[in-house]
Amino acid sequence: MNRVPLERKVLSENDRIAGELRDRFRVHGVLCLNLISSPGSGKTTLLERTLEGFDQNDRVAVLTGDIQTDNDAARLQRYGFPVKQITTGGTCHLDARMIERALADWPLENLDLLLIENVGNLVCPASYDLGEAAKIVLLSVTEGEDKPLKYPSIFFKSALLVVTKIDLLPYVPFDLAAAEANARHVHPKIDIVKVSCTAGAGMPDWRDWLDKRRAQTPAEHVTPRG
């Protein structure tokens, strides 16, 4: 028996493409954010309200992933920003190659912010680097407050937790303080904002977080803007 050391990452091809994407985002000063949650936590609705708050000078685009249908892209296209649907055809996560393909005909020099809505899944998307600057995890108050303990990887790897649907708090047995404590138990430095996309509560906090991150993302080659 002969042992050959390999020391190779299983997802080395994904990581290579993600690294190239990250370099391209850095050169063009594009802030790329990867939104991850269970199905139905409100990723698309959060993106709708977010796009609604931008004006046409904001250079924003959205990639939205689903296993089937382009329903989400149809919802998001109404706001006048570039939106593209990635249909994975069964795969439970987006990978870096899907992002690379989707961006092939989008000039990055025209963008400042790229929002990626991952496939609804709290496990698999945690393993796939998409070249993003940060992962954002959403948790709705109709889920359990112990989700950060049950699915620690994604909470550990996310820079921000967005607690969604807080207008429903009076009607559901969701312990908000416990949810925050659980998230901070897994990841003490995680930022947390709490929003209601329907009532508007907390949306300025989310927008502040976004704007701070955008301000920290300058282009390496500043291109003159007409």
Binding site: R3, E7, V10, L11, C92, V123, S127, P152, S153, K157
Partner: protein
């Protein structure tokens, strides 16, 4: 569910590597999975067995090593295994620590063994 794709990637690497070692066949592949890699070892084993059954890699064994979450202390530089996500350094108590391990998803090694003479003759025909 993504364990099927991960098993496929592992087997691709095994096949590519095996081609470099004529007269042998892959016997065992060693994989490292970090505690927070979001990969389920049982699901990976299931996918691996499903993908190798009744193929040329049917006898390939999968060995999985689980790697604990590890932080390094920025004050004393000590590396420690993290228990229950407690971030402080157990040696000096410093709170400034960074993650240095636990997210592994790596192929550590491949073991190859000499192909039985009959199989070698068959494959040469």
């Amino acid at each position: 569910m993504h364990e099927l794709g991960i098993a496929t990637s592992i087997l691709e690497t095994v096949r590519t590597e095996a081609e470099k070692h004529a007269g042998t066949r892959p016997a065992r592949v060693g994989v490292r999975i970090g505690e927070i890699a979001a990969v389920n070892p049982e699901a990976l084993r299931f996918a691996f067995e499903a993908l190798t059954r009744e193929t040329d890699l049917e006898r390939l064994a999968l060995e999985i090593e689980i790697c604990p979450l590890r932080f390094q202390c920025k004050a004393c530089q000590g590396v420690f295994e993290v228990k229950d996500f407690a971030p402080a350094c157990p040696r000096c108590g410093a709170e400034q620590t960074e993650c240095v391990g636990g997210d592994e998803l790596e192929i550590a090694y491949l073991e190859v063994e000499d192909e039985p003479r009959s199989a070698r003759t068959q494959s040469a025909e």
